[in-house]
């Protein structure tokens, strides 16, 4: 921006200071009085803004319905949030090592993310997968890979968050349970979560792996299986975060996330489960963007809305069903490669919003996210950010410290009002499944994404280093670059080829036959997937077999044929 250029070149090439501009910046004031999502806010909020409020029913104490102020009475005095950094760098060995590193540095939960080929449901030897094995996550093609990833980690004691979002989550759950069984654990003792939200993943590039009916089928199979067999497991993390990354507003994040959650809830009810049997294990993945107060208000509104929604719409009686449990991922899309160390500051504010909002589990982005996968130093810095908030700032002392603020309470109401409008709109379209089928939801993402870029182009939204206080482009990444080892990707490919040659064919084909029958009879597919995994069936084989039963190509990309036909 021209008026912000404080120096100009003089004729002889030396810089001359432009003092007029310095004076201008002294008197400068914010040019926008809107929240990130675009809502105009007042100069100040007063008791007048809260005159109709009924504290007990609209807000309530922390730990009490409608949980606006948090799901626990004592919040972080009882236990800090789980400090969990997402790890996934190629091979199971490398990922295990980095996860162990995060633990050694004070991380309190494991969090591993699957690679792009796995999410698509491809084995590493697939012709279109070979170039991308291990990019953006860990590659798991068999029980052997899962065993390597687990290594010596005591599965009955740690809390492990498995990030597989697509229909491949069914394979992940089976592979994890199979390894636990092989190691002699009782799967009832396993603690952790699996993302398992295939519906949302169609908006993240994995549409071929996530047809709507199969997403509901396999997603709900995982949920039903865990409800019946793994009582300590959180079996879905409805991913509002990824939706927000498309450029939508804070209220849309709530509304679309709840809409997707309802698709699974309705299916579980159709299967004869009672809402209170499964709702306490429902969790959400929420974004924290850069507008501190709006994000806190969004979280508080989501908690209140979920509590009422589960109670009133679904008739839940157990208060645990009504508690909106969530993890936060700080907003990757708020980070830019220009002046990259600024990202550390952005991440701190976003993490602070999560904590002030009463988060259960937090992943801070690493500052290098707009350049590469996290380096070890990047990961460490993200973890240290969480630790500084937890151990130094004192914000953990009091539950919902902003509760009762005229502004925060008013903004919470605003978030609820706007999110309800969007939910009613979706209802008017015939519900979320219909909004997805007719691609109405696609169009919302497209529209909002373009709007966000235009706001930055026009300077309606300011981003330091992008459209204000810019500088020469960087030539290097300050703390180095994370690369995926080509050698380990090659090894993954060789390993799966070898495995496919060496396993017992008869045992395998019997297990695949049972999986096919269970899918065809509309039984839960997870037990058969566990059995097939123990017979060394691969990820693509598990998923491809079920795909075929549902009338889809064995291979999501329709390049290779089923080896079992």
């Amino acid at each position: 921006m021209d008026q912000r250029e404080k120096k100009k070149e003089s004729g002889d090439g030396r810089c001359e200071t432009n003092w007029d501009n310095y004076l201008k910046s002294y008197y400068e004031k914010p040019q926008s009085v809107r929240t990130w999502s675009g809502y105009e806010v007042k100069e100040a909020y007063t008791p007048e803004d809260r005159s109709h409020e009924d504290y007990e029913s609209d807000i309530g104490d922390p730990g009490n319905f409608p949980f606006t102020r948090g799901i626990h009475r004592d919040m972080f005095r009882g236990r800090y949030w789980t400090r969990r950094e997402v790890v996934g760098i190629g091979s199971p060995e490398d990922t295990h090592k980095r996860a162990a590193f995060c633990f050694e540095q004070g991380g309190s939960g494991l969090n591993t993310i699957a690679d792009v080929t796995y999410e698509m449901g491809l084995d590493p030897d697939h012709p279109r997968a070979q170039e991308e094995v291990g990019l953006t996550g860990v590659n798991i093609s068999s029980i052997q890979d899962m065993e390597t990833l687990v290594g010596d980690i005591p599965l009955d004691r740690v809390s492990w968050s498995l990030i597989t979002a697509s229909t491949a989550a069914a394979a992940t759950m089976a592979q994890y349970a199979a390894v636990a069984l092989e190691k002699g654990y009782d799967i009832r003792d396993l603690r952790g979560s699996i993302q398992n939200d295939p519906i949302h993943f169609r908006y993240c590039g994995f549409r071929p792996a996530c047809p709507l009916d199969l997403s509901i089928k396999l997603g709900s199979d995982v949920m039903e299986f865990c409800t019946r067999n793994m009582p300590k497991w959180y079996y879905t993390t409805v991913n509002m975060y990824d939706l927000r990354e498309q450029g939508i507003t804070a209220p849309q994040e709530i509304a679309f996330g709840f809409g997707i959650a309802m698709c699974y809830i309705d299916e579980l009810l159709r299967r004869g489960l009672h809402i209170d049997a499964f709702a306490p294990r429902f969790t959400f993945y929420v974004s924290c963007h850069i507008d501190l107060f709006e994000e806190i208000a969004k979280i508080r509104a989501a908690r209140r809305m979920w509590a009422r929604f589960i109670k009133e719409k679904y008739g839940a009686k157990d208060s645990r069903s009504m508690q909106f449990r969530f993890a936060v991922h700080t907003a990757g899309c708020s980070l830019v490669p220009q002046q990259p160390l600024n990202n550390l500051v952005r991440i701190s504010f976003e993490a602070l919003a999560a904590v002030l909002g009463g988060v259960q589990s937090l992943h801070c982005c690493s500052y290098d996210e707009p350049m590469c996968l996290p380096t070890e130093k990047g990961h460490l810095q993200a973890l240290r950010t969480q630790q500084i908030i937890a151990y130094e700032t004192g914000v953990t002392n009091v539950a919902d410290p902003l509760g009762g603020s005229y502004y925060i309470e008013s903004l919470t109401d605003k978030m609820e009002e706007e999110a309800s409008k969007v939910m009613n709109q979706v209802q008017g379209l015939g519900g979320m499944e219909e909004a997805i089928r007719t691609e109405w939801l696609d169009r919302q993402f497209d529209k909002e994404g373009i709007k966000r870029q235009r706001e930055i182009d026009k300077g309606d939204k300011l981003l330091v280093g992008v459209n204000i206080f810019t500088s020469e482009p960087e030539t290097e990444t300050p703390l180095g670059v994370q690369r995926i080892s080509e050698q380990s990707a090659h090894q993954q490919i060789q390993d799966v080829i070898k495995l496919k040659k060496s396993r017992n064919k008869r045992k395998l084909s019997e297990a695949i036959k049972r999986l096919r029958e269970d899918a065809a009879e509309n039984r839960n597919t997870i037990p058969a997937m566990i059995e097939a995994t123990r017979a060394f069936a691969t990820t693509a084989e598990l998923l491809g077999t079920v795909r075929q039963v549902y009338g889809y190509s064995y291979d999501p990309l329709d390049v290779i044929a089923s080896p079992f036909d």
Binding site: A129, G205, P337, I456, E476
Partner: protein, 143 residues
């Protein structure tokens, strides 16, 4: 004023851009937004979407008589697919087609991609004007 030889399109001398993802990476928001903004800037855009191969992109560029190919990378696949794309463009004699890259990658890889044959690179945080102006100034057309 540029004139364009051999173009048969009804849209006359509009600049034609192919926007695509390559491989399995699903981060398509940037590519979609760029495609829409180029269209708003008066260019004719063919948006190929996800799961494209270098061969397919080049075939499309030939069929559509494109002036520009723009690809978007966000999962570290840029060093794998860029050389393949450049090789396919050579095979297809697309020397006069601009190759632009956008997305997330380390700044260290920008000179590497330029060395491979990429004309210009736009990282996340690029303003629309920067790539629209770049295309207008640098589009290589026979006159």
């Amino acid at each position: 004023m540029r004139t364009v030889q051999g173009k048969t399109s009804m849209t006359g001398n509009k600049i034609r851009v192919i926007v695509s993802k390559v491989g399995l990476d699903g981060h398509d928001r940037g590519a979609k937004v760029v495609a829409a903004l180029l269209r708003d800037a008066g260019m004719e855009v063919v948006y190929l979407g996800m799961y494209q191969t270098p061969e397919g992109i080049v075939r499309c560029a030939i069929d559509e008589d494109a002036d520009v190919i723009g690809v978007s990378y966000l999962s570290g696949e840029h060093l794998v697919y860029t050389p393949k794309l450049v090789a396919e463009m050579k095979k297809g004699h697309l020397e006069d087609v601009l190759l632009l890259v956008g997305g997330s990658f380390p700044p260290e890889d920008i000179p590497v991609m330029k060395e491979m044959g990429v004309d210009e690179v736009f990282r996340g945080g690029s303003l629309t004007d920067s790539f629209v102006q770049y295309i207008r100034k640098n589009v290589r057309r026979q006159s």
